[in-house]
């Protein structure tokens, strides 16, 4: 016998009630118009993918994947992100038609909950991917787009923190004695464990100049205001030059105030090859979204082109957005059976004025008082007094 009660939903699954639905729809509309105007084409991919293709390539941890088995015995996954399916469809088909591609999406993705609630297992994600452009302009476009998009939603208090996998790797490599040490430090940065980083550096028994440099780097690295400040830690290399160019382009866009540098930013996925960033906004305890250059993912699908993009979580945008009352005017027309024709005509007239009209027969109405209080205006169509 199942111990599940009739009202229960699987862990992390949520119903979307009308108020949230309308808010989500507004976010979708704003985002869609905004991104289309910038030349991005919307696409959709299937909810189910093979585990061996999209599931394995995805940056989402295995334990968070919803897995199913199809009738042939193949393992399937509910898509845990949109970047990986888009990489699949781009490499297998779209890139043959146009390079570079500018794609965007608004879709639900699925990530299984381990234990507790407090966060959804299915949520909307909106984002863009620029595929087939390896220039710094593509990365600048991604960052400028995400800033303008968040502004378009009416959010003022937010920050983008940008790092670069290449710069970090160079520092970790130069100041450690082995690749194991560098990997240990990188893992600690992914976990955001700065205390552990300092402890690890001290335990490595590095030459004093190296360990001092690493310790000083970690104490300053999340607070760089300009790219010049990192130069003393890292020898001249392409990644650093790239970041300089990127920051210059963001400055040309007049958006420097929304951007902070964080060279400790690191991802557990090694396909983030270049710059990467996170988006934070006041009002949510969790990051709004993230993005970056992921050339390595396309290689996984067998194509050697660059790709960059971002994804932001719709559920977190809803948390951050101020709630506004609905602008709609609602009208209930309650009619007696014989006057149906008149009620229909009246409803048509109100709808033509742009009102939301509910047509309800008096006969089918169980609790008139409870029903009518949900409307701005109530109109009765009855024989005794005519239309009120």
């Amino acid at each position: 016998m199942s111990s599940i009660k009739m009202f229960e939903k699987p862990l992390g699954m949520r119903d979307t009630f009308p108020i949230t639905y309308e808010k989500t729809e507004k976010v979708r509309q704003i985002g869609r118009e905004f991104l289309r105007a910038r030349g991005f084409d919307f696409i959709q991919t299937p909810s189910l993918e093979y585990f061996d293709t999209v599931g394995k390539a995805s940056a989402i941890y295995d334990a968070s994947l919803f897995k199913l088995v199809d009738s042939q015995g193949n393992t399937l996954v509910l898509r845990p992100d949109m970047t990986t399916p888009i990489a699949r469809v781009a490499t297998s088909k779209l890139l043959k038609e146009k390079i570079p591609l500018r794609l965007s999406y608004f879709a639900n993705v699925f990530r299984a909950q381990q234990s507790e609630g407090g966060r959804p297992a299915e949520f909307g994600q909106m984002g863009i991917e620029i595929i087939g452009d390896e220039s710094v302009f593509a990365d600048a476009e991604v960052i400028i787009t995400v800033i303008h998009l968040i502004q378009a939603f009416g959010i003022d208090s937010f920050k983008i923190t940008i790092g670069h996998a290449g710069v970090l790797n160079c520092i970790l490599k130069d100041y450690t004695e082995s690749s194991e040490q560098a990997d240990t430090l990188r893992t600690l940065l992914v976990e955001r464990n700065y205390v552990g980083f300092e402890e690890a550096v001290e335990s490595f028994d590095l030459p004093i100049t190296k360990s001092n440099a690493l310790l000083q780097f970690i104490s300053e690295a999340t607070n760089f205001v300009s790219i010049g400040e990192i130069e003393k830690y890292v020898r001249k290399n392409d990644s650093l030059k790239y970041m300089q160019q990127l920051m210059e382009l963001i400055e040309v866009g007049g958006l420097t105030q929304y951007v902070a540098l964080d060279f400790t930013l690191s991802s557990h996925m090694n396909y983030y090859t270049g710059m990467l960033f996170e988006v934070f906004a006041q009002g949510s305890g969790f990051a709004l979204g993230n993005g970056g250059r992921y050339d390595g993912l396309l290689q996984h699908f067998g194509t050697n082109v660059g790709a960059t993009g971002f994804g932001i979580r719709v559920d977190r945008i809803l948390e951050v957005l101020p709630s506004e009352p609905s602008p709609d005017q609602t009208v209930a027309i309650i009619f007696e059976e014989v006057l149906f024709a008149k009620a229909l005509e009246m409803a048509g007239a109100y709808r033509a004025e742009g009102k939301r009209v509910t047509l309800q027969s008096l006969k089918g109405l169980a609790d008139e008082k409870a029903f009518t209080k949900h409307f701005d205006k109530v109109v009765y169509v009855s024989q005794e007094d005519g239309a009120e």
Binding site: V195, G196, N223, F280
Partner: protein
């Protein structure tokens, strides 16, 4: 100056950490009446303290209802919450160890471990290549080997007196523990100046 919410564990750690904040130059009242209060407002410094169970501090911080918090490394290792670990405050220092009755070996077929820290215990034995069965208890862990519930316990040790008084000996030192200053990832960005300033002032006190 942005408002800062700090989640603190109740009890001795609160007092020690509170004193550290005073030493770091924060304008806090010397005596704080905290009998049953769960929220303490310090308007002069734009600080609000949330008093929580130690195990709950990382939860408050992860969800962003507290910007920063003070949490034991044991709770961080056990809960694996998505928070930034900023500073080792070096207070309430102790360690996690395995212990059991003297001169015993673990059951070879299904060794049983009693603990308040199922994740830490599981990870430790996994790493040393032992498959064990975890029995989760909430307190008086030392009882478990004495009454035959488990071969070993995994628990916090500060002086070792509790173990001794219950006739147990320490077997393996698993990890060191102390109180850490942690931050919510969004607050760390959005209130960056305020949090950085607090960290560097606290760092001077830790020495």
């Amino acid at each position: 100056m942005s408002h800062l919410t700090i989640a603190m564990p109740k009890g001795r750690i609160f007092e020690e950490a509170y004193q550290m904040l005073i030493d770091a130059g924060f304008n806090l009242p010397e005596e704080v009446e905290m009998s049953r209060k769960l929220l303490i407002e310090i308007p002069e410094e734009q600080i609000r303290f949330i008093l929580a169970k130690p195990m709950d501090v990382p939860v408050y911080v992860e969800h962003g209802v507290a910007d920063i918090g003070i949490a034991g490394k044991d709770t961080l290792l056990e809960l694996r919450r998505n928070v930034h670990e900023l500073l080792d405050l070096k207070i309430s220092q102790c360690y996690i160890a395995s212990a059991g009755l003297p001169n015993t070996t673990m059951n070879e077929i299904a060794p049983r471990i009693a603990t308040k820290y199922p994740n830490i215990a599981m990870n430790y034995y996994k790493e040393i290549g032992e498959q064990v069965e975890i029995i989760e208890l909430n307190g008086s862990i030392e009882l478990a080997p004495m009454i035959g519930l488990a071969d070993r316990i995994v628990d916090i040790v500060s002086t070792g007196r509790t173990l001794k008084e219950n006739g147990l000996v320490e077997y393996e030192h698993i990890t060191d523990v102390s109180s850490r200053l942690i931050a919510n990832p969004v607050s760390y960005r959005m209130k960056s100046a305020r949090i950085q300033e607090l960290v560097s002032r606290m760092k001077n006190i830790v020495g």
